[in-house]
């Protein structure tokens, strides 16, 4: 979008145009902990997020529910607003100026996300509404064509419902079977069971790259290699990975990769599916209607070329453009800096939580095996009560089954609390969170030592 004037406006509206990255490592004043700010200038990043100015019950908002959805920087909000106020139009096939600008911005965003996950071909990117829809698209358009009775799909015990239920629906329709790779009690995949599970009937291994409930980072490449040796394809649920680390769909050996940019500073309403181009070419359409056709008569219809074959109807144009702005923002921070920042925060958070004798922590002990989230329980307080109390101290955490009920059952839990961190969180946020956990003990009249 170099030939129109709204990109310039966009730059002016953006609160910081320089990447908020520093090279220095500081030490947190109060805790003495090594600051997570190595590489990221968090105090400056915070200024880019207007919502972080909000007070919740008179307290500074400490937003630790990033695994559910992230907050949005001003540049993303502006990109959406600029589209509606400057060049709102439907995309594709329009001959007027607005349509041309909107189409260009929409397709630019496709190139940005393709580059971001190292998918070399933007035509391999399909915009959906969310990760769930991306996985359903694969189950419908690939699964119904290629799976037959007694074929097998391998899932893992730590999947989100979005990577379970579409396969159950498919299995019921075509008569194929679902097999499940178990986990260890501390939240690692049982790789020792992988060879037993995979066989000549396995058609697909669908697994999460990072567990949304435990934070475990899975060895996707190793599993993909084992699956490919048996001729099976691999679908990677990247919803919790893409926002937090460098993603390379080629290097990880994915055949399908699904993610939700709203967890990566983008707006809700856009999901992404990347798939190998050859697979997309021979897959059937997902939804039928406008935008996805080449020709229509009452006798027969033919399909538009990939990726538009899979994008029926008017897409969420503003949100796709907003997503492009979010990708630019993350790219300017540098994903290796984002990962390092979250590593420092989760390391500190785990240390602080381990000081508390009344807290049980779930998932890998080694912070290097985690993304920036931690699931835990106060042994005496139900997570919903805990969530309510810490909210009144400005701290937003999630409590529940995290849409991973089979995992909770496997761990013998009904529910847990979860704190998840992102680029605008710092050590002070961790301290505020831990302070709020102490406050909850006081509300319930429980000892704090």
């Amino acid at each position: 979008m170099s030939d129109d004037n709204h990109s310039e406006d966009q730059m002016l509206n953006t609160t910081s145009t320089e990447p908020a990255v520093t090279g220095s490592v500081s030490v947190h004043e109060e805790t003495g902990a090594p600051a997570a700010e190595a590489g990221l200038d968090v105090s400056r990043i915070k200024q880019d997020f207007p919502i972080l100015q909000r007070q919740i019950f008179g307290r500074r908002l400490v937003y630790l529910d990033n695994a559910a959805t992230s907050q949005k920087p001003q540049c993303v909000i502006d990109a959406i607003s600029d589209y509606y106020s400057g060049y709102n139009s439907n995309v594709h096939r329009g001959v007027h100026t607005l349509a041309s600008e909107a189409t260009s911005a929409y397709e630019d965003a496709r190139e940005k996300i393709a580059a971001f996950i190292n998918g070399d071909d933007p035509k391999s990117i399909i915009f959906t509404r969310n990760t769930t829809e991306s996985i359903n698209l694969v189950a419908h358009s690939w699964g119904r064509k290629h799976l037959f009775p007694n074929d097998e799909i391998v899932l893992t015990a730590m999947e989100h419902h979005s990577n379970i239920v579409p396969w159950q629906l498919l299995a019921k329709d075509v008569g194929c079977k679902i097999r499940v790779l178990d986990i260890t009690d501390d939240g690692y995949l049982r790789l020792d069971q992988l060879n037993e599970l995979l066989n000549e009937k396995t058609r697909l291994v669908a697994l999460t790259q990072v567990s949304n409930a435990l934070g475990t980072i899975n060895p996707v490449r190793q599993i993909a290699d084992a699956a490919h040796e048996r001729g099976a394809l691999v679908l990677v649920d990247g919803a919790q990975a893409m926002p937090h680390d460098t993603v390379d769909v080629e290097a990880m050996g994915a055949d399908f990769f699904a993610c939700s940019p709203h967890k990566a500073l983008g707006p809700t309403g856009v999901g992404v599916l990347w798939a190998r181009r050859d697979l997309l070419e021979e897959m059937d359409p997902f939804l039928g209607g406008g935008e996805m056709i080449r020709d229509v008569s009452f006798e027969r219809s033919t399909w538009a070329a990939v990726p538009h074959k899979f994008e029926a109807g008017t897409p969420s144009i503003a949100d796709v453009i907003g997503m492009g702005a979010a990708i630019d923002y993350l790219t300017s921070l540098g994903m290796e800096n984002v990962r390092a920042h979250e590593q420092a925060i989760i390391t500190y958070a785990l240390e602080r939580l381990r000081e508390l004798p009344f807290i049980s922590i779930y998932g890998p002990r080694n912070p290097e095996d985690r993304c920036g989230l931690v699931s835990f329980n106060d042994v005496d307080i139900h997570p919903h009560d805990l969530g309510t109390v810490v909210d009144r101290h400005g701290v937003a955490i999630r409590a529940g089954h995290h849409c991973a009920k089979p995992l909770m059952t496997r761990l013998g839990l009904v529910a847990s609390a979860r704190a998840s961190f992102y680029v605008y969180n710092d050590m002070e946020d961790v301290d505020a969170f831990v302070d709020a956990l102490y406050e909850a003990r006081k509300v319930f009249g429980l000892p704090t030592t």
Partner: protein
């Protein structure tokens, strides 16, 4: 922060915490008329309830609650409050209590007992379901035992309730 300002004092009153720590209705019944399981799959709260009915009255009640403080306390208060009531009185109490949680005033002429302590839940809309689980469970159990005597049952699709009538109804409600 002043806990009163944050509403936490209103929500977690001492009487609620007392019920949570030591719920009423702890003793299992030897001769239950109805057994019922109420479950909220959204949050995992779970309640097993046994009810013994004689002469149209709730003679004894046993609960096994699992969940947050609000759901456990509400179930415990229910157990304490409705023993000895007729089925109609118990359902009247349920309807009145539900009305209060949904924003109404406390109606006169009904003894709510400790339930009045749950007033603070009004300020926490997402927790109202916690306070109602026991009451929906009770209503479904009575509806199954005595379908004719109970009008429209408030069906909450988020709550799964499985009631088993162990003894056939032998008499009309009092």
């Amino acid at each position: 922060m002043n806990p009163t300002m944050s509403g936490l004092d209103d929500l977690y009153r001492e009487v609620i915490l007392d019920h949570y720590r030591k719920p009423c209705g702890g003793e299992a019944l030897e001769n239950p008329t109805i057994e019922v399981d109420g479950h909220n799959p959204l949050c995992g709260d779970d309640l097993r309830m046994q009810i013994e009915i004689a002469d149209g009255r709730i003679k004894k009640l046993h609960i096994e609650p699992q969940g947050c403080s609000i759901s456990v306390a509400s179930a415990s208060m229910l157990a304490k409050q409705i023993e000895g009531m007729t089925m109609e009185e118990a359902l009247e109490l349920k309807t009145a209590f539900q009305g209060v949680l949904k924003g109404g005033d406390w109606p006169e002429g009904i003894d709510f007992g400790d339930l009045e302590a749950l007033e603070g839940v009004k300020q926490f809309p997402v927790r109202i379901k916690c306070a109602l689980l026991a009451w929906m469970t009770l209503e479904q159990a009575l509806a199954q035992y005595c379908p004719g005597a109970i009008g429209m049952v408030d069906e909450d699709r988020d709550i799964e309730i499985h009631a088993h009538t162990l003894q056939e109804k032998t008499e009309e409600p009092a």
